[in-house]
């Protein structure tokens, strides 16, 4: 039963090879879908291109379906996988800072790597910015961030437990919400000015 490496079904030596393969798949798909272009990515905020929303939601829902079906068939033990811990204050403030980073810089870290690899100089500069930002954070961690970083720790809850519903009902609701979002966003570009990029 999975996860195979933590369960010692295959050796830990495979860990880095799997990481490389996962990365190749991730990078190939992102670039192929157009995530190497900041102007295409920014389209999601201005209504002229919704590729981010489409790829992002389809991927999250596909993976959630897969993981929870794998659990149902007892192919994977979901108690052994990494669940993001919820530190409410830092998750929110960090997210807001990243939101500004996205609308100002046009990339996020993963997409900037894709952009840089196909020659986007702005993406390379963006990566330099991330490096500086993390360095600044590291140098000022104790002084500025530590308290916020550790504030309001709520464990590692799952969203359907937080909402008090079953996992199946949540995934169904999320899928319906995504389909609605796909349909609505397909109409929006008809009403906004076309942007060529």
């Amino acid at each position: 039963m999975g996860p195979l490496i933590p369960n010692e079904i295959i050796g830990a030596n495979w860990d880095f090879l799997i990481a490389l393969l996962v990365g190749i798949g991730f990078g190939y798909i992102l670039e192929r879908a157009g995530f190497s272009s900041s102007r295409k990515l920014a389209g999601v905020f201005y209504g002229y291109d919704f590729v981010v929303l489409r790829v992002f939601f389809t991927a999250a829902i596909t993976a959630a379906f897969g993981l929870y079906y794998f659990q149902y068939f007892e192919w994977i033990d979901l108690s052994m996988i990494y669940i993001n811990p919820l530190y409410l204050t830092s998750t929110l403030i960090g997210g807001v800072i990243m939101g500004f980073g996205f609308i100002i810089g046009g990339y996020c870290p993963g997409t900037s790597v894709c952009g840089a690899m196909i020659g986007k100089i702005d993406a390379m500069v963006f990566i330099g910015g991330i490096f500086l930002g993390i360095f600044f954070y590291g140098e000022t961690y104790e002084l500025l961030w530590k308290k916020i970083y550790l504030d309001n720790f709520l464990g590692a809850p799952l969203v359907f437990d937080s909402l008090g519903i079953s996992n199946a009902l949540f995934i169904l609701g999320l899928s319906i919400a995504a389909l609605l979002a796909f349909w609505i966003t397909a109409q929006i570009p008809k009403f906004v000015k076309r942007v060529d990029y």
């Binding site: 195979l4 190497s36 002229y48 991927a59 993976a63 939101g99 196909i118 963006f126 140098e139 060529d196």
Partner: protein, 176 residues
């Protein structure tokens, strides 16, 4: 222009197919290793390795660097570093196939290359800080977090995109 737009469309994968395949990649990652995707983590490793190489004692004295700098092996010997090397290879392969390899600064015709580069570095700095505070970026915190149905993943996604939408209007001249 019409032809160029059409041509670009052909070169991009259908977004729903891309999302489905990306979902399969996430399932594969969890099934084998129990963890999902990430991007900012690899850059953090590079920062830690650099600080450690230049000022080892300083790194050991910092609560931020020490957990990685005090280890026997290099901070670069991490899962996320190998994963991001894979991302680089994958993106390059796709770029070659699609014929998109070209050195350029991509920007709206309304702004100069210089403005775009300043905005890019500023956005990067913000993403660097935000990803550390938020324990991951769009890949690790939001996308992977949502895939496992963690509450943190949904909070993170709402905070990132909610902020983007709320303030998009103020930054419109940089994009449209």
């Amino acid at each position: 222009m019409e032809n160029k737009v059409l041509e670009n469309k052909r070169k991009y994968m259908n977004p729903y197919l891309a999302g489905f395949l990306l979902g399969l990649v996430i399932i594969f990652a969890f099934y084998y290793t129990g963890r999902g995707l990430g991007a900012s983590g690899a850059i953090k490793s590079a920062v830690v390795a650099s600080v450690d190489a230049v000022a080892h004692n300083h790194a050991l004295a910092s609560e931020f660097y020490a957990p990685y700098a005090s280890k026997e092996e290099s901070p670069l010997s991490s899962w996320l570093v190998f994963e991001i090397i894979g991302v680089m290879i994958g993106a390059l392969i796709s770029g070659i196939i699609a014929g998109r390899l070209k050195l350029k600064v991509e920007h709206s015709p309304k702004i100069s290359s210089k403005t775009r580069l300043i905005m890019a570095i500023l956005g990067g700095v913000l993403f660097g800080i935000g990803s550390q505070l938020g324990r991951g970026c769009t890949s690790g915190a939001a996308l992977t977090g949502m895939a496992t149905l963690s509450t943190a993943g949904f909070v993170s996604m709402l905070a990132i995109f909610g902020t983007g939408y709320t303030f998009a209007w103020f930054f419109r001249k940089f994009w449209i």
